[in-house]
């Protein structure tokens, strides 16, 4: 293959290293309004009155909007396909605030400074309501959402946003008779995406009165649909443009501020801009769903898993975007990695008066793999059995059907899942070598610093089966270059490049000959957006199909021009018997101007009922200071099976970037709220993400398999590497000092307490 699997420089790379103005905020609006949001300082209250009179007097303030200025239309801010599998429990502005950070009013002003002044001058009268910040108490706490109005809430009186239950076989009976039974509970905290570019949206009315939304988003088409719905403005009059995005990780899989900015433009006729401050990013955006997961395992004497029971309690925060789907993924991924004939799942997502949780890389899988890979380790230790062997014995095999896949999709019924590519055993074996597992385990340790190794396995998916669809359009130019128009959304993930590679491979040209334009709802065909690790697998197949159609046209026209019945394409030429040949560029030039005139172009869409899982084994080498409990990660080895690697550097980049995000969740990142539900650590100093001096040594490797349902055999890579590091570290800490932490984060005090006991 010419481009697939070969090093390919990003197609948009030059503009990025040159610092060209390609991000959302890198344009000048003509006389814009700057929007600031008044956020609630109280966790739960009814707004009795809002007095904006003094604020309106501030020079530069143009308009202030409160709930009185909008119709009551319930929607979900989740960037998902229609009908959205999330509760419609959100109003653009409400007369009730449900968390510290909830929106009370929008100010539109001639300058940021005036808008900020106005925020301070708005007077709000509250009737404070009782708030609950503990999700284990949510079902018995004051009702957060009203009985009438919202739809899709599972049990509004008990604050249950979503519920999911599933069963295969009979776990109760099996557990009663199992040779070994283990049961433990684990939890994961609120963590933040911390993408360096904040949420930013610019809107304006173009020369034809159409609303243009230029926004940092993962979901341009969902933005268009939902803004149209919320503001009762026709879809045909909206254009959404996604420029270069400065990182997203799920945080921009949301309609966050686009509807607000659009509302201001539609109401005033003027361009508008809204950008979150870093502080707002921490409490008024979205975060990962904290989850408490209880696992119960039953094994037989051969160490095979016979029964698995999983009980999930998920904290949505004050509203429920992605509530059902995240915990579905938690369950489905965790319960699909190992064979087990009897499975039971009970999952509930509940409301609390804390920051809203939403989509975040892994989308529930990290919250499931931390408990899963921890309990498997605990079982191995209890049974005095090798943890790597235990995983090897039990993981699903090539060709098997995974029973739970059919039952739990992403929120509701799924589709049969058959494993058609599987490299987990090699991942485990390779990783074990690279981390020097045996060597570290054999160390005789006597000092203050103790070293340990840990392993974790993981799966994920490649798109949402039966739902995710992406489309591509390709048209040819006279110099044998091709315009590739795709809805698919590059967030820095490199999808523009990977999709160009696929097109280039099919068309037998080099990547420079593919001109990519993506994520503009006026010009590019539909794509559900960048989430669920779908772009390579789903959008990539659409590109492949479209390119194949174009190639067939080129061949057909070439044959017509040459006057032959048989010919083949090779490297940009149509070749026939007798030395007859014609180049791509000649074909296109003739087709434009003189012969068989037509524009060579084709489109294709792709949806799949399959969502093959990539597989990963992550190993951690840690050193624990037994006097302070501080854990230092020395090395992370991450070995992944993603089928055919399309762009090696980019795939490595995805793994390398996911690792510190997971380590952060394990060790140094967690959102903290005070007793009134107000967030405490709202800056990078106190919510600390990894810097260049904190990184452990990272070793990434790919194990080659071939996924028959994926373009050129490829599966997804973007999310899976975030699942393993946290449990691998927890397991390594146990190996080092015999302390088991089941509730992340692994704080130094927890470790030290464990050591002292």
């Amino acid at each position: 293959m010419k481009t697939i699997g070969k090093k390919t420089i990003r197609v948009d790379g030059e503009s990025l290293v040159k610092g060209k103005p390609v991000f959302a905020d890198d344009i000048k609006l003509d006389n814009p309004l700057y929007i600031k949001i008044l956020h609630s300082p109280i966790a739960h209250a009814k707004i009795k009155n809002i007095d904006t009179a003094k604020a309106m007097e501030i020079p530069g303030v143009v308009a202030i909007y409160t709930h009185k200025d909008f119709n009551k239309h319930y929607y979900t801010t989740a960037g998902q396909g229609f009908p959205e599998p999330s509760p419609r429990d959100y109003l653009i502005l409400d007369d009730t605030v449900r968390f510290v950070g909830d929106n009370i009013a929008f100010v539109a002003a001639e300058s940021l400074a005036s808008a900020e002044k106005a925020l301070k001058a708005i007077k709000v009268g509250y009737e404070e309501l009782r708030a609950n910040f503990d999700y284990s108490k949510a079902m018995d706490s004051p009702q957060i959402h009203p009985n009438k109005g919202p739809t899709g809430i599972h049990d509004v009186k008990k604050n249950i946003a979503a519920n999911l239950e599933a069963e295969v076989g009979d776990t109760k009976k099996t557990l009663a008779n199992a040779d070994f039974v283990f049961s433990k509970e684990y939890s994961t905290p609120f963590v933040q995406h911390a993408h360096i570019e904040p949420h930013i949206t610019l809107t304006w009315l173009d020369e034809n009165g159409r609303l243009v939304i230029r926004t940092a988003t993962q979901v341009p088409f969902h933005v268009r649909r939902i803004v149209a719905e919320v503001l009762d403005f026709p879809i045909r009059k909206i254009r959404v443009i996604k420029p270069r995005v400065g990182g997203a990780f799920g945080g921009k899989q949301e309609i966050l501020n686009e509807e607000i900015c659009s509302a201001v433009t539609l109401k005033t006729g003027r361009p508008a801009r809204i950008e979150y401050t870093r502080e707002e990013e921490f409490y008024a955006a979205r975060s990962r769903h904290p989850q408490r997961v209880k696992f119960t395992f039953g094994l037989n004497k051969k160490h095979e898993f016979e029964a698995m029971e999983m009980d999930i309690l998920e904290d949505c925060g004050a509203y429920g975007p992605h509530a059902l789907t995240v915990m579905s993924v938690t369950a489905q991924k965790a319960l699909s990695l190992y064979r087990c004939p009897n499975i039971k799942l009970v999952a509930n997502a509940v409301y609390t008066n804390l920051s809203i949780a939403g989509a975040m890389r892994g989308y529930g899988a990290p919250q499931g793999f931390f408990p899963l890979e921890s309990i498997i380790d605990e079982i191995a230790i209890e049974l005095k059995f090798d943890p790597i062997e235990l995983r090897k014995i039990n993981h699903v095999r090539l060709g098997e059907e995974i029973p739970i896949g059919k039952i739990i999709g992403e929120g509701g019924e799924g589709f049969p899942v058959i494993v058609r590519s599987m490299g987990l055993t090699e991942c485990l074996e390779e990783g074990k070598k690279l981390i020097e597992w045996n060597k570290i385990k054999a160390l005789k340790q006597t000092g203050i610093i103790r070293r340990g190794v840990g392993v974790a396995a993981a799966g994920q998916g490649s798109g949402i089966p039966g739902i995710d669809m992406g489309a591509a359009f390709i048209k040819m130019n006279e110099d044998a270059s091709f315009n590739l128009l795709i809805g698919a959304t590059d967030l820095g993930t490199g999808s523009d490049t990977v999709l160009a590679q696929i097109a280039a491979e099919v068309l037998e040209v080099s990547v420079e000959y593919i001109i990519v334009y993506s994520s503009d709802t006026d010009f590019t065909p539909f794509d559900k957006g960048a989430y669920a690790s779908s772009t390579t697998y789903i959008s990539g197949t659409a590109v492949k199909k479209a390119a194949e159609k174009v190639k067939a046209q080129i061949l057909d026209i070439g044959m017509k021009i040459l006057g032959v019945e048989k010919a083949e394409i090779r490297n940009g030429w149509v070749l026939a018997a007798g030395g007859k040949k014609i180049s791509y560029s000649d074909i296109c030039t003739k087709a434009f101007y003189t012969d068989e005139q037509q524009q060579i172009m084709a489109e294709a869409s792709h949806m799949s009922y399959d969502s093959p899982s990539p597989y990963n084994a992550t190993f951690a080498d840690v050193s624990v200071d037994t006097e302070t409990g501080i854990v230092k990660v020395n090395k992370i080895v991450s070995v992944t099976d993603i089928g055919q690697v399309i762009n090696p550097q980019m795939s490595e980049g995805q793994v390398e970037g996911a690792i510190p995000q997971s380590l952060g969740m394990a060790l140094s990142e967690f959102m903290i709220f005070d007793e009134k539900g107000a967030p405490i650590n709202t800056d990078f100093n106190n919510y600390h993400i990894y810097t260049a001096i904190d990184m452990p040594e990272i070793v990434t490797k790919f194990v080659n398999t071939h996924e028959p349902t994926g373009p050129y055999g490829a599966k997804a890579v973007a999310e899976i590497p975030i699942n393993g590091p946290a449990p691998a570290v927890a397991n390594a800490v146990f190996n080092a000092v015999g302390v088991r932490i089941r509730n992340l984060p692994i704080t130094p005090e927890k470790v030290l307490r464990g050591i002292k006991n």
Partner: protein, 251 residues
């Protein structure tokens, strides 16, 4: 945009600087990294003293004189032999970009309890040259915060017999407990800080060093901390104890 700033004064002498500083809602501005990061709306007037304060670093046989306008990076680059001083400068500010702009004078004036460098300097207790605008030399611990810091004079012997320990979840993360210890001829100085409300300092005679006195230091200093996401008071006490042990070993 620091929207509350209405005026910037650039004095040509310490006399002018003190005059400008007496205007209401004025702050002295050296490097500005703390001030501009926080953009306090209570400040209307900046008095930029970066042009008049000393910026040199002078090393003699027994002492080092650091101009208050020296950047933290200057200190790291030029005083590489003084491990604890360099370490404290790096820990207190992991961003080289900020270190290029942040001045040691500003670091002292800001008195951040979380700053390893400030903590270390309190332990070393250098003589600082203050301009009011008259020149005065006073030990850091006795400074009443009036006047403009122009120079910091440290005895080499103190640098050589001092150690600092800090505990954080990551090298770049803010430390939750910092311990600095300096041994002088007949005394030991302990300075403890971090995520605390004040910097704790205590001096003991070398002859009095004992387990009991250490216990007292630990119990007294932990009063400045509170139970938070970094740990309980029990945990912090044990960190302070470990910190003291390790810092003392370094001396």
């Amino acid at each position: 945009m620091w929207s509350s700033i209405k005026n910037v004064d650039v004095p040509n002498s310490f006399i002018e600087a003190i005059e400008y500083q007496s205007k209401s809602k004025s702050v002295l501005f050296g490097g500005g990294t703390y001030l501009v990061a926080e953009k306090s709306t209570m400040t209307n007037n900046i008095v930029d003293i970066s042009g008049i304060i000393d910026k040199t670093i002078e090393v003699t046989d027994d002492s080092i004189a650091i101009g208050a306008g020296s950047s933290l990076q200057n200190i790291i680059d030029e005083l590489t032999d003084y491990k604890s001083l360099v370490e404290s400068s790096k820990y207190s500010c992991f961003s080289k970009n900020i270190r290029n702009q942040r001045t040691i004078g500003g670091e002292i004036a800001q008195k951040r309890v979380q700053s390893e460098l400030f903590t270390y300097l309190v332990a070393i207790n250098p003589v600082i040259e203050i301009r009011t605008p008259e020149k005065k030399n006073i030990h850091l611990r006795k400074w009443n915060e009036k006047g403009i810091i122009n120079k910091i004079k440290i005895n080499k012997i103190d640098l050589d017999s001092s150690g600092i320990e800090r505990f954080a979840t990551l090298p770049s993360a803010p430390a939750f407990v910092i311990v600095a210890v300096v041994r002088r001829a007949l005394e030991l100085d302990f300075v403890i800080s971090g995520k605390a409300k004040k910097v704790y300092g205590h001096t003991i005679k070398l002859a009095d060093f004992s387990k009991d006195i250490l216990k007292k230091i630990i119990n007294d200093s932990v009063e400045y901390f509170k139970e938070d996401q970094y740990g309980s008071l029990e945990y912090k006490k044990s960190l302070i104890e470990t910190g003291i042990q390790r810092a003392v070993e370094k001396i």
